[in-house]
């Protein structure tokens, strides 16, 4: 008798637990589907830009990199000179992993003729942030198998987390609402991915000590190698560009010197303007110490174009 009562308690408990998980599962599925629908319905903003870069762009010239790509490379200047279409894929704070994933996704459906990879000081440094940033690619994880190994670098449990339909859109509720609003179209207007900066730098020159950071993240170095190899294998003309900084630098950035050496190994042009005197100490060309303003962007584009022509 007692055993029977115990069993019925246990059964009721299991039924209630299943009911709880069923509600969670169904809510997750419905909300996840809605988020997916509206995520891909966006027509402006950062997220739309990533979707466009992965699924739509057919441009002949693609520019990859962080904000130092997005704010420093004006596609219109390159289009005019090379008479080819150009799109700037650059995205604020996004590391090499992200760009390698985008390159792989692009190569699945179209072959660009020229790729410019904007390289930053400290790109190979050991920082967890670069891995965390891969969450930007979660909405594409399920239907772009080629990017999965890269997104999995985020952590060992990504595959399990992806069982949730909401998880790929974690923290994206408000950006999705904004991205579907008319307001977003004016706020996030870009020129083929390029976001011009109009300010002029103020204040004293920043001093950066590059002698401190010597340890490199081998996964990031290998991803850079893979990016170079992939372009070479696809016969794409790749130019790695390190735009200028307006800083007082102590020592040389170890990431840049390493990237340069690797580019040489693969016979790929590496244009290093990080300490180019035609930029440094000219505040009128900079919006802040990492980013050129519109005037500086024009000078950079013309300098890069000349070097590309010379390297042919």
């Amino acid at each position: 008798m007692i055993r029977k009562v115990k069993n019925s308690f246990l059964q009721l408990f299991i039924v209630k637990l299943i009911a709880f998980f069923a509600v969670v599962f169904l809510s997750d599925l419905v909300i996840g589907r809605l988020l997916k629908k509206y995520y891909f319905k966006q027509e402006s903003g950062y997220y739309y830009q990533t979707t466009y870069a992965i699924d739509k762009t057919e441009a002949d010239i693609l520019i990859f990199g962080s904000s130092r790509a997005a704010n420093l490379f004006n596609p219109e200047i390159f289009e005019k000179h090379f008479n080819m279409s150009c799109f700037n894929i650059g995205r604020d704070g996004h590391p090499l992993f992200y760009h390698y994933a985008l390159l792989k996704a692009n190569l699945k459906r179209h072959l660009p003729k020229i790729v410019i990879l904007s390289f930053d000081a400290g790109n190979f440094s050991i920082k967890q942030e670069a891995y965390d940033r891969l969450s930007s690619l979660l909405p594409y994880y399920s239907y772009h198998p080629e990017i999965r190994p890269i997104v999995d670098l985020k952590g060992p449990n990504e595959k399990v987390k992806m069982l949730s339909a909401i998880y790929p859109y974690n923290s994206l509720l408000l950006p999705i609402i904004a991205g579907n609003s008319a307001f977003s179209k004016t706020k996030y207007a870009t020129i083929k991915g390029y976001v011009p900066l109009k300010e002029i730098i103020k204040g004293p020159l920043k001093t950066l000590d590059y002698t401190i950071e010597k340890e490199l993240d081998t996964i990031k170095v290998n991803t850079y190698r893979a990016f170079l190899k992939e372009c070479r294998a696809a016969n794409i003309k790749l130019y790695v560009v390190c735009p200028p900084y307006m800083i007082n630098a102590i020592g040389v950035d170890y990431s840049i010197t390493t990237a340069k050496k690797i580019a040489q190994e693969y016979n790929i042009s590496f244009f290093d303007y990080s300490r180019d005197t035609s930029f440094i100490n000219k505040p009128l060309l900079f919006a802040d110490f990492r980013h050129l303003n519109e005037k500086g962007v024009e000078l950079l584009a013309n300098t890069v174009i000349v070097q590309i022509n010379n390297s042919k």
């Binding site: 709880f20 809510s27 997750d28 909300i31 969450s135 949730s164 974690n170 408000l174 904004a178």
Partner: protein
């Protein structure tokens, strides 16, 4: 703060020392009894001091020697702080002290004693349990109790919500501001400090609730560690609601042995300051924590010194005629005082803390907008917390979603929380702040 497998030996060492110390204390009388207690305390405090304070003490020693134009011959060591060391050494010490006091019988079963120190839900971040509450539970026979499992899971879900949706979200803004205090204006630092107050509460109480909930699911009751400290009406009341397991530890094993409140008023003030300064040092080997402890000790001393004036002030302003307004006022003042002290708790150095205070005092600048989404999520998180905690604090008998009679209402509420965790939780980076202690 790291997990290194070999560090389990440290835990093993303290377990063996305290296990035998307990037996020897119970079997001895007079000074021998005291001697075994001292051995146990020296072993525990010695380990804690070596791993946590060696380099801090050495740095300060170097500073003093430098003042006399001398160099320090003692080398710095590259020591990693074992995860949860401060928690399990305090829990182990409470066992030998209670055995010495005769409040707890010696645990002769080595496995059960080891479990008391290593009980995994609360091993790394508390609550710091007492032997009277926990040890006997390991000897009880358990029967499956579905209500207990539900309760445990509910507590865990709320703890996870506090940690992932509130604490880690606010932490993004706080880190951005406090990692670069020179670049921030006063208003930004003020907002970051207020956010930090909520962050540290949700982080630590969230973790405690996960531990309490996990233990409950398995059939064990751990002590309540937080009782909505946001609504404390005085700093004294705050410490009765905040990190209760640590506050009572210090009260029972330090404040009372120093004489507690049975000594002269001046000695009470000294005792309070000593307890809070040591409590500050327990939180971290940095002067910022010691100052933080000192400020909180001062609050209590000041409140005691001015108690009669405060009553007169309330009567003079007639605010005591409006009890609700008075409570609101008291809660607000307490929150601001505690939040102010946390500038030292969060700042990387004493210099940084003073920069923050100086900048905050100017009330200048506009608040740094770290992205509309982050700001809105942060305000939503705080509002949700205040709503739930206000309900629990002030409207206990009224309508409740979490304890509704209808299963489907309760079920939907907790499903909603889980969905919010997946939708708005921060899953990257962030670690439990209190792990470092």
């Amino acid at each position: 703060m790291v997990f290194v497998p070999v560090f389990i030996l440290i835990l093993g060492f303290t377990i063996v020392v305290d296990y035998f110390a307990g037996i020897f204390i119970e079997n001895s009388k007079g000074t021998r009894r005291k001697l075994f207690l001292v051995y146990s305390l020296v072993a525990n405090i010695g380990i804690l001091c070596f791993f946590k304070y060696y380099n801090f003490i050495n740095t300060n020693f170097s500073f003093i020697l430098h003042g006399f134009g001398l160099s320090n011959p003692i080398p710095y060591l590259s020591i990693l702080l074992p995860i949860g060391l401060s928690f399990h050494t305090f829990q182990a010490m409470s066992y030998t002290i209670e055995v010495y006091r005769g409040n707890q019988k010696t645990e002769r079963h080595f496995g059960i004693y080891a479990l008391y120190v290593m009980f995994y839900p609360q091993l790394v971040a508390g609550p710091i349990e007492r032997p009277q509450n926990l040890l006997h539970q390991f000897r009880e026979k358990f029967q499956f109790d579905s209500n207990r499992v539900y309760e445990g899971l509910k507590i865990m879900i709320w703890g996870l919500f506090k940690k992932l949706v509130i604490a880690d979200r606010l932490g993004i803004y706080v880190n951005a501001a406090y990692n670069n205090v020179e670049q921030q204006n006063g208003m930004t630092l003020m907002l970051a400090t207020i956010f930090f107050s909520f962050q540290v509460y949700c982080d630590f109480s969230g973790y405690s609730e996960i531990a309490i909930g996990a233990a409950k699911v398995m059939g064990f009751d751990l002590m309540t560690n937080f009782k909505r400290p946001i609504f404390a009406k005085s700093t004294g009341e705050f410490w009765k609601r905040w990190h209760i397991s640590l506050s009572t530890w210090f009260k029972d094993y330090l404040y009372f042995p120093l004489g507690g409140s049975r000594v002269s008023v001046f000695r009470i003030y000294i005792n309070l300051m000593v307890v809070f300064l040591i409590s500050g040092l327990w939180h971290g080997a940095n002067w910022t924590y010691i100052i933080w402890g000192g400020i909180n000790g001062f609050y209590l001393v000041f409140a005691m010194m001015t108690k009669k004036y405060a009553d007169k002030f309330n009567a003079f302003t007639r605010i005591n005629k409006f009890p609700r307004l008075l409570i609101f006022f008291q809660i607000g003042i307490t929150f601001l005082l505690i939040t102010f002290s946390r500038v030292f708790f969060r700042a990387k150095s004493v210099e940084d803390a003073f920069i923050v205070i100086k900048k905050m005092a100017t009330f200048k600048g506009s608040v740094f907008n770290a992205g509309s989404a982050l700001m809105l999520y942060s305000f939503f998180a705080i509002s949700f917390l205040l709503m739930v905690e206000s309900k629990k604090e002030f409207y206990t008998g009224s309508f409740s979603l979490s304890h509704h009679n209808n299963f489907w209402v309760r079920n939907s509420y907790y499903s909603f929380l889980v969905i919010l965790i997946i939708l708005l939780g921060v899953f990257d980076g962030g670690q439990f702040i209190y792990f470092q202690f």
